[in-house]
Subunit: 258 residues, 2 copies
């Protein structure tokens, strides 16, 4: 058992962590037996991690970095108890805004928590390079927090690609599809028809604006749009990119072909 | 945060742990926000836990109790690191055979790992009593290991109910639907059509033999038969019973109505 354990810093939202966990299993090559699967340690400590968008837009001063660092402290204790090295990830796009992700990494370093953490958005860019190198104009659906940071725009530009985003006046609808307390994707599992229809409409709108593919840049979105495409529009799921990256880092021999 | 953390002793098989995790989330009453969900710590250490049926049928001498106890040692370290009490469960029917479950509990006690562990089959009986008290003749599909122990027969009899099981000559087919290394439910996710069709046929056979409902008594079975019923036959999912029991023990105020 020289392979690494995979640590999921979950709970953001909780069902996105479950989706990542399932994709790790689905992308692992085994001999068909339970025993060929990775050691996955999945911590879903939602109550300790304030909303990421609320922090980025200034309506909550508490940085979610701190609660997630406490989650990784638990993971570090568990890894130490079973004598394993680990590789970790956080399945939340908005968490990767530098105002959150950078202090998070600094806390881990300061506390001696030696779990390397993959970067969800960097891995998504790598996935696009490998699987769809010809794409030039790429749509992104994301929370208002992620949008505000411009992180997808910068990463795509650095990769020679162009971002297509929603008209400003439709962003509130997307935020509602994710956050509405009655019918949003964070509130209802499985995702409600109303939320799914809105996600689908906004995906179509990005394609109509010239996007050749659409990145589902909030981990609740693939819960509502689980397919690889929608009405002929290619969907790129960052959680799938992350699952495959975690398998690659834990033991590259066990990564299934795409 | 006085509620308890929920510990999943997963990996047996790994996708059954994911199914339990998802059902915990789906059965938790929240205000629609991530932060209302439980602290779930899910350890999937498949490689360290030998096959349960192989142990019970004598083809592997290693008791899976020991690896699962090491899993709970990791959980205990993680809970200690975040100062939480926990309540745990193992989503594998076969693991609850007394020859495995009893030594498992003894190791936890000896090592001072103070995480109470719910019993999957006891919780399934409680679920039937609460949700379907009128049932008298109940079919059970299970691994050959679980079947050999007679544990479902004894529990149903103690509850004034009668077990309907497969004709002996069809048990190998059910074992194959779960374990076949090419197309069985442990080998292929999502579950293959061949495995699903066999599960459905055997469910129908139990109904034809007089079962008023069928317990999917191996945690791979609900992955292939996810509905509440099949061709009018009521399906009872022990993993759902367990998810609801964990929520009840962690904080009864947060248990959704059925």
């Amino acid at each position: 058992m020289d392979d690494k354990a995979i640590v999921i810093g979950g709970g953001v939202g909780p069902m996105a962590g479950v989706a990542l966990h399932a994709l790790i299993i689905e992308n692992t090559l085994t001999d068909g037996k339970d025993q060929g699967h990775f050691d996955v340690q999945h911590f879903s400590r939602s109550a300790d991690i304030p909303d990421r968008t609320a922090f980025l837009t200034g309506s909550d001063a508490r940085n979610p970095a701190e609660g997630m660092a406490r989650t990784f402290r638990c993971a570090w204790a568990a890894l130490s108890a079973c004598g394993k090295q680990g590789v970790g990830a956080v399945p939340c796009n908005t968490f990767h805004a530098p105002a959150i992700f950078d202090p998070f990494l600094r806390i881990l370093e300061r506390e001696g928590i030696r779990i390397p953490v993959l970067h969800l958005l960097d891995e998504t860019m790598r996935f696009i390079d490998e699987a769809y190198p010809g794409l030039r104009r790429i749509g992104v659906l994301s929370t208002s927090g992620t949008r505000k940071t411009g992180i997808y725009r910068d990463l795509l530009a650095a990769n020679g690609r162009e971002l297509v985003e929603l008209p400003e006046e439709r962003q509130a609808d997307l935020q509602d599809a994710i956050y509405n307390p009655e019918w949003g994707a964070k509130a209802v599992c499985p995702v409600s028809a109303r939320s799914r229809e809105l996600m689908a409409e906004l995906t179509g709108l990005l394609a109509a604006c010239g996007a050749e593919a659409v990145i589902l840049g909030c981990t609740e979105l693939p819960l509502g749009l689980p397919g690889k495409s929608l009405n002929g529009i290619l969907l790129i799921n960052p959680v799938l990119a992350l699952a495959r990256a975690l398998v690659r880092e834990a033991d590259p021999c066990k990564l299934k072909a795409l």
